[in-house]
Amino acid sequence: MFLPLAFAAILAATPSPRRVTVELSALTDAGHDDFHDFWSPGASGELAVFVPLSRGFVEVAAQPFSSAPSQTGLPRIRSLVTSLGWGASLTFPARLRLRVGARAAVVWMLFDATADREEQDENELAFGARASLERSFASHWSAELGVRALRMQTHRPIDWVFAGGGLAYSFAMPRWLAGFLE
């Protein structure tokens, strides 16, 4: 139900400052699901770019992570989550900013070869959400702590939750980008 909520949020969102933000985060698996009975997701990172729109921001993100098998005979899974999302941010005193967003993602998976199966790849649709709290400590820089939740829409849905933090760098939107978004 993230997307209908996001739709409602779009209607209520206020214009964002015309600044582009690039964020690099370190994340760790913080959830438990049927998937975890078979695999253990390792530490991962995420690169995200936030581009302001007239209402809220659009987000493009990539998050690679590897899941080690916890049972014999299962392949290691190397995954890359590529997300496109929309969100809104709220500014608080003490240079704090809450950033929330909804995401649609494609999870690209590479299954290592096992004793009886060759290496293979697949991709699946996923939906998710993110929430992070940022605190700026210089004119361009801020630190963030946050959580990402993702549901992969497989026949038996897989839920992942990642938590972590990182650094974000903001800069004025280049004219070519502003023109492109028009």
Binding site: G73, L74, T114, E124, L125, H155, G179
Partner: protein, 627 residues
């Protein structure tokens, strides 16, 4: 306070290109998701049978499609899927949907979808689009755990490009559409695999088209040649199972218009079209070898007088049909018909009166169609009467009588209780429109459709030795009758700048008629509705969230098959509610567009045909270039 409307006529629905972009329309068949009160059914998700309000169950399509004023002959033996047409969706400027009986240049249609296409406006113009989609529900990593399920990949892709240009009053463009759709649902894939073609589940369409035109102040001309070839699986209802075929649509023709210099003089227009529809089962080793080719040629000439608020049109038309079934000659496989048509219309501010008449004569006897419609302030009503030809009433059976032996070859116990003959129709629509400024408008309507001498199939679909559905008996009843009556409501509310809410609902039921008529009518859900909240930010960003709903339907013909679990058949189609959400954003001053749509967001199983696929959550991504 809501005041009665004065100049609003909501009996027709207009969808602009922006509406289609915002709703994430991919293929022409998707238009019917947006059409007020329409329903559609599909076995594999590509061939779409759409129905407006009223009775759907005879052989003739329940509606006509007109592209740039030219009626499209795209029905094959009672199956009419708009996705056969070669027109790229991004070339649509707007669509007008008349969901009531209408005459189109002398041709009667229970409803009309009229598409106006874009024409090049600059010296060189390119418009291209690529759409890819996929359905959720794969096993994913669990395929390695012993808890695996089949892979799901249905939507495939659709790519199209149109290159055109204009120099002075001359213009021309050429388009190409290529689409692929995967039928991987377990409900159909297993039985299709048995039909014997390795890549059978891949439905592939290739469609080139070319147009040339002249737009001068007094004269305009458009010439066109369009074609589409689809590797698909055809479902003749009388067989109860599919046949792999190559399906072809080829159409060429032109339309010319001459406008005089003075307003008192009449204007003239004429059109000539020739269309071939073909299904070739032999090409794909389909059994039975249902090879069928129908060529329809039509010419008409119309004179128009417009004097102030009055319009008079008089026209003549001629039709030529030629049919062939493989190497076998069919008795009476060609004929010519001729006719006249007229329109009288008067408009005065909020009032409009239109009277249409068409008379045809030729093989199959005389036919006629009359439509009278009147709009007076907030009230609109129309009445229509028509008599159709035999081959329109029950195409498969009509041609079986003339030598099409595919049914007999299939070993089907088929019979007819009499000769196929033309059916007659009387219908009426009444509506009241209310409006409050530019914020709110609504139309409440009621309608009734009376059919006589309908040719209806009484089918019994069971299972063959492999457990796949196949008709065990088929009987044509050519003199059925009945009445469908119903009500409809459409409303739109302008909430705030760029935010609009629109909803529609339609109810219908068989009010009178034979048991077979009532049983056939139950194939259409009684209730259909859609509510959409649309939002726009400036001219470049659009979003829409919509809820579609329909009540249950019963296809009694499949009751026997649904008792065999391996057929995956279900005679009782439960009602469903589906939520869709889509986003569309133009970039670089409307040169690039990206679209993202999610269909059936709640991931509820949706089924529209007893032996068809079960739709689930689907994501569709679009990219469009306009240079």
């Amino acid at each position: 306070m809501i005041a009665a409307a004065c100049a609003l006529f909501l009996a027709s629905q207009t969808l602009t290109a922006a509406d289609l972009e915002r709703a994430g329309v991919v293929r022409l068949g998707d238009l019917f998701r947006l059409a007020d009160g329409w329903t559609s059914s599909s076995i594999e998700g590509f061939t779409i049978d759409a129905s407006p309000a009223g009775f759907e169950g005879g052989g003739a399509p329940g509606y006509a499609i007109v592209i740039d004023g030219v009626l499209q002959e795209f029905a094959i033996l009672g199956t009419s899927s708009p996705n056969r047409l070669p027109l790229p969706v991004e070339m649509i400027d707007h669509v007008t949907i008349e969901s009531k009986p209408t005459l189109v240049r002398g041709r009667f249609a229970p409803a009309v979808v009229s598409i106006t296409s874009r024409r090049p406006a600059a010296r060189i113009q390119l418009r291209a689009r690529h759409v890819a989609g996929s359905e959720a529900g794969d096993p994913g990593p669990f395929q390695f755990t012993g808890d695996t399920t089949p892979n799901v990949e249905r939507f495939g892709f659709e790519s199209s490009a149109t290159l055109g240009g204009r120099g002075g009053s001359f213009w021309s463009d050429a388009s190409f559409v290529r689409a692929r759709h995967y039928a991987s649902d377990e409900a159909i894939l297993s039985r299709w695999t048995v039909l014997g073609v390795d890549d059978l589940h891949v439905i592939e369409k290739k469609a080139p088209s070319l147009r040339i035109g002249v737009d001068a102040p007094r004269v305009s001309f458009t010439g066109f040649a369009r074609a589409s070839t689809i590797d698909e699986v055809f479902f003749p209802r009388a067989l109860g199972r599919e046949i792999p075929v190559e399906s072809a649509f080829k159409s060429w023709g032109g339309r010319a218009e001459w406008r005089p210099g003075t307003s008192r003089s009449p204007s003239f227009d004429a059109s000539l079209t020739s269309t071939t529809n073909e299904i070739d089962a032999s090409e794909r080793e389909g059994e039975p070898a249902l090879d069928w080719k129908k060529t329809s040629s039509a010419a008409d000439f119309r004179a128009r007088w417009e004097r102030g608020a009055q319009l008079t049109e008089l026209g003549v038309r001629a039709l030529y049909h030629e049919v062939a079934a493989g190497e076998r000659p069919l008795r009476g496989d060609s004929w010519t018909r001729g006719g006249v048509f007229a329109r009288l219309a008067a408009r005065a501010s909020a009032d409009e009166t239109v009277f249409d008449l068409a008379l045809d004569r030729g093989r199959g006897g005389a036919t006629y169609a009359i439509v009278f419609s009147r709009t007076r302030r907030a009230i609109d009503f129309s009445i229509a009467a028509a008599k159709t030809r035999g081959e329109e009433a029950a195409p498969f059976w009509y041609w079986r009588e003339r030598g099409l032996s595919a049914i007999d070859e299939a070993g089907l116990a088929a019979g007819s209780r009499g000769d196929v003959q033309g059916s007659s129709f009387v219908g009426g629509d009444l509506g009241i429109t209310v409006r409050e400024g530019s914020r709110f408008d609504a139309r409440l309507g009621t309608f009734a459709r009376r059919h006589r001498d309908l040719a209806l199939e009484e089918l019994r679909v069971g299972a063959d030795s492999l457990g796949f559905p196949i008709a065990t008996s088929a009987t044509l009843h050519p003199q059925e009758e009945g009445t469908i009556a119903g009500a409809s409501a459409t409303a739109s509310l302008h909430i705030a700048r760029g935010i609009d809410l629109r909803g529609s609902w339609r109810f219908q039921d068989a009010a009178l008629g034979s048991n077979l008529f009532r049983d056939t009518a139950r194939q259409n859900p009684k209730h259909v509705g859609r509510v959409a909240l649309a939002a726009s930010w400036g001219a470049s960003f659009h979003a829409e969230i919509a809820v579609r709903a329909r009540s249950s339907a019963v296809w009694l013909a499949f009751a026997e098959a649904s008792r065999v679990p391996t057929t995956f058949a279900d005679a009782d189609l439960p009602g469903w509610v589906a939520a869709d959400i889509s986003f569309s954003k133009w970039f670089a001053h409307r040169r690039l567009r990206a679209g993202l749509a999610f269909r059936d967001l709640l991931d509820r199983p949706l089924r529209t045909h007893p032996i068809g696929e079960v739709e689930r959550l689907t994501v569709v991504a679009q990219a469009e270039v306009a240079l």
